[in-house]
């Protein structure tokens, strides 16, 4: 993999800052820091800057730094515009980290970085129209059209498509996909309907597989909502492949089969997208940050 430079990659989330030394899809050294967002936006920012500084100090042979963060991201100007999760506003990360380390800095959005990674090294290889759709605590898509990642800050908000869920959404609206198909939503709905304590969507899948009728219905409804949103996407952009990621996608076949079945019943003349599970797992963000770092060179 000599064509890939050695770079520092940082994937900063609401809970954790994952950093690594990256060469192509190879993650050579990883380090994690807590974001400590409870300390406020300035503290979270400082934690990220500390991580960047530490990585640069420990790895003087790295040629660039790539940082990806959640929320509204201005990748062109290297600014974290806003994050509901981290509460910061207009943090010029690229400029600060460049001045601090003297290294070229690539800056981007965490979900889109995951999409860039899957496109280059994972399930998106060989396709030019892809949707990378991680389903975790939220649902947002990274859209690639003719090989180009859409970097619009408001695009890909598939989690807020109206799927008629009947539930309120944290965004302030109701009926959004996120209110029924995220990991926490699936667990919450199961708890409400069954009265049984359950921690996450994986336990709902497990219960469904052992014949729990409520679990079967809750999972089916969440997958139907997801399928409806995916079908709406298909009518608009006709992707070659849809790559499901995030915690909920660990259900694998239990996720792919109902969506495939729904699409088969809906699509008449349109292109049938290939449905698949992301291949890079939790490291997609960091590998994507590495690609973004390489592009800054």
């Amino acid at each position: 993999m000599s064509e890939f430079p050695l770079v520092i990659a940082i994937d900063a989330g609401g809970t954790e800052i994952k950093a690594g030394l990256v060469k192509g899809k190879e993650v050579l050294a990883t380090q994690r820091w807590a974001t400590e967002r409870e300390g406020g936006p300035d503290h979270a920012r400082d934690q990220i800057l500390f991580a960047a500084g530490e990585m640069a100090r420990r790895h003087p042979d790295a040629k660039a730094i790539g940082l990806v963060v959640p929320g509204v991201v201005d990748s062109h100007n290297g600014i974290a515009v806003y994050s509901e999760n981290l509460k910061w506003e207009n943090v010029p990360f690229r400029k600060i980290i460049n001045e601090m380390t003297g290294l070229p800095v690539g800056f981007g959005h965490d979900v889109r970085a995951g999409g860039i990674a899957e496109n280059n090294f994972g399930a998106g290889i060989g396709f030019s129209n892809t949707l990378f759709l991680p389903i975790g605590t939220g649902i947002a898509g990274a859209i690639t059209i003719d090989g180009v990642m859409n970097e619009d800050v408001f695009s890909g908000e598939i989690g807020h498509m109206d799927v008629g869920s009947g539930y309120p959404c944290e965004c302030g609206s109701c009926d959004c996909l996120e209110s029924i198909s995220t990991g926490p939503s699936i667990a919450r709905i199961y708890r409400e309907k069954s009265g049984k304590p359950i921690a996450n969507s994986a336990e709902v899948v497990k219960a469904a597989n052992s014949g729990d009728v409520i679990a079967i219905q809750v999972w089916r409804n969440s997958m139907l909502a997801l399928a409806k949103a995916v079908y709406a996407y298909v009518t608009v952009l006709a992707p070659d492949v849809i790559i499901f990621g995030g915690g909920v996608s660990k259900a694998g076949k239990e996720l792919l089969d109902p969506i495939q079945s729904y699409l088969d019943s809906k699509i008449t003349f349109q292109r049938h997208p290939h449905l698949t599970i992301a291949q890079l797992g939790d490291t997609a963000g960091i590998i994507g940050a590495g690609i973004i770092a390489s592009r800054s060179l």
Copy 2:
């Protein structure tokens, strides 16, 4: 408008072939021929070739020809791949017309040509993310992202988004937007519910405006379905502007207001698109064909 070359532009539809001499947004001479699709796909093709030949003969000062057609269009290779309406398959229009006339030939899709025209000379001026959505006998969108028109043959099929209409669709599926919000659908539903003969959606709007309760409900439901589809598009691509065209858009404020109201009730953090009516009317296709002709030079 000396920067625009004089070109022949042809917008061939299922009923009519509209041709003109075009210079920028100026349509200098127009001529119409019947497509006579009842004569079969070869005849329809020959009618178009005849029109192209005639226009070239009459206007020897034209520098290029632009032709746009409906259906599945391979604009890159200049081939009309398929049309449900015209039944042809793989007609290499660009090659044939170039050999016949000796002129450079631009070839494209009729709806996307309308979008190109609105982007350049109409309601899309100044915006880089636009959706041109003509609503006539069908509903299909021309998608522009970062100033680039999406030319995927299966993209923009918003008319087949599932809006839960409860009606079968001509595509073979059901619940599609086209089954409730096209001109013929609106008239059909009104006729079914009222038992009154009515020819088109404009008459439904007129009846609604004079207090006909069934007309009010039919129009409201068709606009609600349209608004739902538009909102799904907004979550995916966050356009700056949505430009409604086609016969149904002649309702103007009666179309814009309910969609605006729905979006206002749904959008929380996302970008609010500007909603507007197309400015070029029936000539959008021909002006777009002219732009496509210019690009072949």
